[in-house]
């Protein structure tokens, strides 16, 4: 009979713990006293040693799972022993507990573990209640952006309401004569407004500004522009190059290529970049999926096509969601630095600024160089300041040696 591995109870008030690390793999030999797993409460981190000897037959919770205390999280048994059926497991477990600890019968009933449920994974659709969906449509917010608080990870109405900006009381003015013109806000405008407001009011955000020597980018741009081949290289812009560099850098900083969802962060394996586009209908942010897998030329061609579709208003709505990080470019409009607003539940956004000439000191001389500005805004709940700075540092380094990046 296998021995259950129990999540210990640390103190009277603790009801659940986060299982942080399994130190043994399923199938691995375990001896008494071996470090078996680590877990944490909101106060401290603990290591748990094995009290049994055998083979780790099965683990019932994954690293990162929140587990009620005194719940069976795995099984140790003899080599070759089949773990009981997962479903039968919990039932057998209860029987066994009674058999071996008759004295516990009168104790407070133990919380009972349900069979393990699959955790939400990347790509799983967002679960939202019908009421939440209806409410989101009514107030014009995207329920997918909400942090789920309902049962079974469901977005419920209160989560949607949390996205909704507080509406100021309506002020009725007496109008003698019209000195102004009123226009109903477009749906898109309202949506942008709501999202921006939610992001602005909810997110503790930090913006870091930096710049880099864009000489190499400009040189390359010149050469590409002159290209007359049919490869479509002449259309590659500075912005495309920045996007390309971001896509090659950000996976080293996974907390920025992520969604913050209530109690968990969803870290993405690929880079889907939101590209902010200024259109007559207002701001649109199409998604450039799998940016990290695309060549510079493909990056340029695809983004150009998406921008055009945004202007034409015929972009597939599927392309207006799913981004993991956003790049917005105000450089052509001469902006030197700004503080862009994060598209929730993303954790960061990169603003690309104009190029200004700066001087740098080299061998005692001041040499002018074209400096391109970057502004990184991030959600401090998910990303620390130094993490953001490290991302910017790696990014600017790559941009300054862009031709090397292309060789990778």
């Amino acid at each position: 009979m296998a021995t259950p591995i129990i999540m210990p109870k640390q103190g009277q008030t603790v009801e659940s713990c986060i299982l942080t690390v399994w130190h043994k793999q399923v199938g691995e030999q375990v001896f008494e006293g071996d470090l078996l797993f680590s877990y944490e409460t909101d106060k401290a981190v603990f290591d748990e040693e094995s009290t049994a000897e055998g083979v780790l037959l099965e683990i019932l919770f994954e690293e990162g799972d929140e587990v009620p205390v005194l719940t069976t999280i795995g099984l140790i048994g003899e080599e070759g022993e089949q773990p009981p059926e997962a479903d039968a497991q919990a039932f057998h477990e209860a029987d066994q507990a009674e058999d071996t600890h008759p004295s516990e019968k009168d104790a407070v009933p133990k919380p009972i573990a349900d069979p393990v449920e699959p955790v939400l994974r990347d790509g799983d659709r967002v679960k939202a209640s019908p009421r939440a969906r209806r409410l989101a449509a009514e107030i014009g917010v995207d329920y997918r952006q909400a942090s789920p608080s309902g049962a079974e990870g469901r977005v419920v109405s209160q989560d949607v309401l949390a996205l909704k900006p507080q509406v100021a009381p309506e002020i009725v003015e007496e109008q003698d004569e019209l000195h102004y013109e009123e226009m109903e806000l477009s749906r898109a405008r309202k949506l942008i407004g709501d999202r921006m407001r939610a992001s602005f009011s909810e997110v503790p955000r930090v913006t870091l500004n930096t710049s880099f020597d864009a000489s190499e980018l400009l040189d390359l741009r010149k050469k590409l522009k002159a290209d007359r081949s049919e490869q479509g290289l002449s259309g590659v812009t500075l912005n495309d190059m920045v996007i390309y560099a971001v896509s090659r850098t950000i996976l080293n900083h996974p907390e920025l290529n992520a969604h913050l969802l209530g109690e968990k962060t969803r870290l993405f394996r690929d880079v889907h970049l939101g590209i902010a586009v200024d259109t007559e209908r207002g701001l649109m942010v199409p998604t450039f999926f799998d940016a990290n897998r695309k060549s510079l030329r493909d990056t340029s061609v695809e983004i150009k096509s998406m921008i055009q579709q945004c202007h034409d208003g015929n972009i597939n709505p599927d392309y207006l969601q799913g981004a993991t990080f956003t790049v917005t470019n105000l450089g052509p409009l001469g902006i030197e630095s700004f503080s862009p607003i994060i598209n929730l539940p993303q954790t960061g956004i990169l603003g690309v600024n104009s190029i200004a000439w700066k001087l740098k000191e080299q061998d005692g001389e001041y040499i002018p160089y074209p400096a391109m500005g970057l502004s990184l805004t991030f959600d401090h709940r998910a990303v620390d300041g130094a993490q953001g700075a490290r991302f910017l540092k790696e990014l600017t380094g790559r941009l300054e040696t862009f031709s090397l990046l292309l060789c990778v």
Binding site: P68, D87, A90, P111, P115, R133, G150, A151, V156
Partner: protein, 820 residues
């Protein structure tokens, strides 16, 4: 249970023997000539005519079923045709002396009974009466169709005969101009103005219904007798035996008073055609050998049982004359074994593989139509030409009736294409009738003199706090009693009966005080015969009375399955609204007594169209709903719970002493809240309220608790309104969770409030187990903690809550997979 009857151990233990008297077998031996003393020549010829009409009618149906036409009128009739070709003498003989006040209840093979009884009634009625009936019935719809072939010069009796044949055939063919507008069909056709009461497609179904009708006649001192016409095969059915026994209860003679003393005016007639479908009753499927023998086992009078020759109409008439005399002398009930034989199969699809050709041919040699005709000729009462003339006229009549009945314009079907919901209006009668008769109510004492009433007067009728119930409080059982007692002083036809109701006061003391108030004939103990109790209730009320019957435990409902599901539920609609069913069936959901005494079976009657179902949980609601049930004309299954008979009123300021109603179908908000709706059925209300307290105190969740009070009908609006507010709903009752009525409610809420829901509606019922011992019931019936766990896991995570039960999806899937 009757203290009047002393059970003497000396008598009980005394040695002796039981003596039976002889049971007559086919002892009639008169000729047509002899009968001229009793019957006129015209009567004797009319017997032939009536038999010939039935023969032609059934032959016509046989032709249509087997050849698709009758005398060149093609017609495709896919429905049932259980024909009685060969049995004509038995039905004509039975009906011959009966009139419209004598009621017959038949079987699936009753076309002949309808026609025979109708023809007999027509013969005895005046032209004016007949005209009135034909003009009134279904607002003259049937008469209008008949007028197409019978103009104003037709004699009223002839018109009525055409009316009878046409109304029956149109009903068989499912036409709107049929007696039941096509909602009954072949096996359920009837015509009450001629004393033909519902025929029943359930074998033996009529026996206890007829018993109830006889009770109605006796208790309300109505003219006429009642006949249960079922087949020999029905003696395999429990309800038939229950009916024989209950109709023979000793109390009719020993305990009922005055003019009510004496036997029931009922004949249990068995048309003994030797077969129950294909099973041969004597010799194969039964042990009685002679069916009449069983009368000897039922009561000391042996039910005056007799075998009579159903192939001789005169023998049957003679027997009916004698037996009717017995019934009028209050010496009923009577049992008749009427020997007969059908030439056709059980139905036209039957190849008679269970009997030989020789046997059929031998009986055809005895064909009553032929032999009786020969008798008439032999004694010079008719010539062969006369008889031929009669037969030809009948063929012509049946031919014209068939043409009329298959004419889509004259005999249309119910207009469901034009109004697909038409049948809805027949499911309930929805009348408010305070009393079914105007005569004074027979009671023994005034209401004020009643000891229970006096006791109740000392009780607090005002609102009590939880847990404060006690002997000084007006309890739920008092509330039900009060509504019923009051009605006994209003409706003279009201009767209440069931198991251990008189003297004992019912197993749960609801009826304590009724014994003092009511004479036996209004309030009596029934045998432990759930099927007969319910079916006799059905017969009692469809004959014109109002009744409350009682089954003690809900778990005994299964014993009355057919009677509740097929009889009580169906007759209003199957009669196209002609019959009403003001019948209240009390069932009590138990606890403490284990698996066969603790079940909430509300889902069963609620599933069956045609029944109203209520389950009050407070004294105020119990009295108000009982008043509504006793004011209406629809069948109501009135659920009670033994857990809460002693609760006091906790929600209303007081329970009024006077009359008031709680409308059937209206749920009631028992506690207001904003975050979660809890809808409960029955006694679970109090645990739902406890859960609401915990949610409030421990988790800051404000729960609204709605008491369903009724299941069918049910107004969802207050629930939807609540869900629009809260976005969440949990449903709970003591019924086993699987397929409980809560599931129906949850599905309806999902559908109607889909866009309001923040979580799926979640049902918390009892486990899908047997009920364990009382000490372990908390592991079986829903508890407040279960509700909290379900809220946390499926509706809204409750901060700091850790469930004590397995409630996840996977658990649910695994349990369902295992049938648990």
């Amino acid at each position: 249970m009757a203290k009047k009857l002393f059970i003497d151990p000396g008598e009980m233990r005394k040695s002796g023997q039981i003596d039976f008297s002889s049971i007559p077998v086919n002892q009639y031996n008169k000729t047509v000539q002899d009968e001229l003393e009793n019957l006129s020549k015209e009567d004797l010829v009319r017997i032939y005519r009536d038999m010939a009409i039935i023969r032609e009618f059934e032959e016509m149906l046989y032709a249509i079923k087997t050849t698709g036409e009758y005398r060149h009128t093609p017609y495709d009739y896919p429905g049932p045709a259980h024909l009685s070709v060969g049995q004509e003498a038995s039905v004509v003989g039975q009906a011959f002396l009966l009139d419209k006040d004598d009621l017959i209840f038949g079987s699936h093979r009753s076309h002949g009974e309808i026609l025979a009884k109708g023809l007999s009634a027509i013969e005895k009625m005046t032209a004016q009466e007949l005209t009135q009936i034909m003009e009134d019935y279904l607002d003259g719809t049937i008469l209008a169709a008949v007028r197409r072939i019978k103009d104003g010069t037709t004699a009223v009796k002839d018109l009525a005969i055409t009316f009878l044949l046409y109304g029956t055939l149109a009903e068989i063919f499912g036409r709107q101009t049929g007696f039941q507008m096509g909602l009954g069909g072949s096996m359920h056709a009837f015509f009450t103005p001629f004393g033909v009461y519902p025929n029943n497609a359930i074998v033996g179904g009529s026996a206890a219904i007829a018993l109830g009708s006889a009770l109605f006649k006796k208790i309300n001192q109505k003219k006429g007798i009642v006949i249960s016409n079922v087949g020999d095969g029905s003696l395999g059915c429990g309800v038939v035996w229950e009916a024989l026994n209950m109709a023979s209860m000793g109390q009719f003679r020993e305990l009922w008073d005055g003019e009510y003393q004496g036997g029931l005016p009922i004949i249990f007639n068995f048309f003994n055609n030797q077969y129950g479908m294909g099973g041969q009753t004597a010799g194969e499927t039964m042990g009685f050998d002679f069916l009449a023998r069983i009368g000897a086992g039922i009561n000391p009078e042996q039910m005056h049982a007799e075998r009579i020759d159903g192939y001789n109409p005169l023998a049957v008439i003679d027997a009916m004359r004698n037996k009717r005399q017995l019934l009028e002398e209050k010496r009923g009930p009577v049992l008749l074994d009427t020997v007969t034989y059908r030439f056709a199969g059980h139905s036209p699809s039957d190849s008679s593989s269970y009997r030989t050709k020789e046997e059929i041919e031998a009986w055809q040699q005895h064909d009553s139509l032929v032999t009786y005709g020969l008798e008439l000729v032999r004694f010079g009462l008719a010539t062969e030409e006369d008889l031929q003339g009669i037969r030809e006229a009948i063929v012509e009549l049946v031919q014209s009736v068939v043409k009329l009945a298959v004419d889509e314009d004259i005999s249309p079907r119910m207009d469901l294409p034009g109004d697909p919901d038409l049948i809805e209006r027949f499911m309930f009668s929805e009348q408010r009738v305070e009393k079914m008769d105007d005569r004074p109510c027979e009671v023994l004492i005034s209401r004020e003199e009643n000891p229970r009433v006096q006791q109740i007067q000392r009780k607090l009728r005002t609102k009590v706090e939880a847990g404060q119930s006690g002997l000084r409080t007006f309890q739920l059982r008092d509330a039900i009693f009060e509504a019923i007692l009051d009605k006994f002083y209003v409706d003279p036809t009201l009767v209440a009966y069931g198991e251990d109701v008189r003297d004992w006061g019912g197993a749960f003391a609801v009826y304590r005080g009724l014994t003092e108030a009511l004479p036996y004939h209004r309030f009596f103990n029934a045998p432990i015969s759930e099927a007969a109790i319910v079916s006799s209730g059905v017969g009692y009320v469809l004959s014109g009375g109002r009744a409350i019957i009682e089954l003690m435990y809900c778990d005994f409902l299964g014993r009355a399955g057919d009677e509740v599901f097929n009889q009580m539920a169906k007759w209003q609609a199957m009669s196209a609204g002609e019959l009403q069913m003001p019948l209240v069936l009390r069932v009590s959901v138990g606890s403490k007594y284990g698996a066969q005494h603790s079940q909430d079976w509300t889902a069963l009657p609620a599933h069956i169209p045609g029944l109203k179902v209520v389950f009050p949980a407070t004294p105020y609601d119990a009295k108000g709903l009982m008043n509504s049930a006793l004011m209406g004309t629809d069948p109501v299954i009135f659920f009670e719970s033994q857990r809460i008979y002693d609760v006091g009123e906790m929600f209303r300021p007081e329970v009024p002493e006077g009359y008031y109603e709680v409308p059937i179908g209206e749920p009631d908000v028992k506690r207001e809240g904003t975050d979660l709706t809890i809808l409960s059925i029955g006694a679970t209300l109090y645990r739902a309220l406890k859960a609401a307290d915990i949610l409030e105190e421990r988790y800051g969740v404000s729960a609204e608790v709605i008491d369903a009070r009724s299941l069918v009908p049910f107004n969802y609006e207050p629930v939807l309104e609540s869900v629009a507010k809260t976005g969440r709903i949990l449903l709970t009752s003591d019924a086993c969770e699987r397929a409980s009525y809560l599931k129906e409610m949850a599905q309806t809420v999902s559908e109607l409030a889909f866009d309001d829901l923040d979580a799926p509606p979640v049902v918390v019922g009892a486990r899908n187990w047997i009920t364990p011992a009382h000490e372990l019931e908390e592991f079986f019936f829903p508890q407040p903690e279960w509700m909290i766990d379900a809220v946390d896991a499926k509706i809204m995570p409750l901060e700091g809550h850790s469930p004590k039960r397995r409630v996840s999806r996977n658990t649910q899937i695994i349990r369902k997979k295992s049938g648990l």
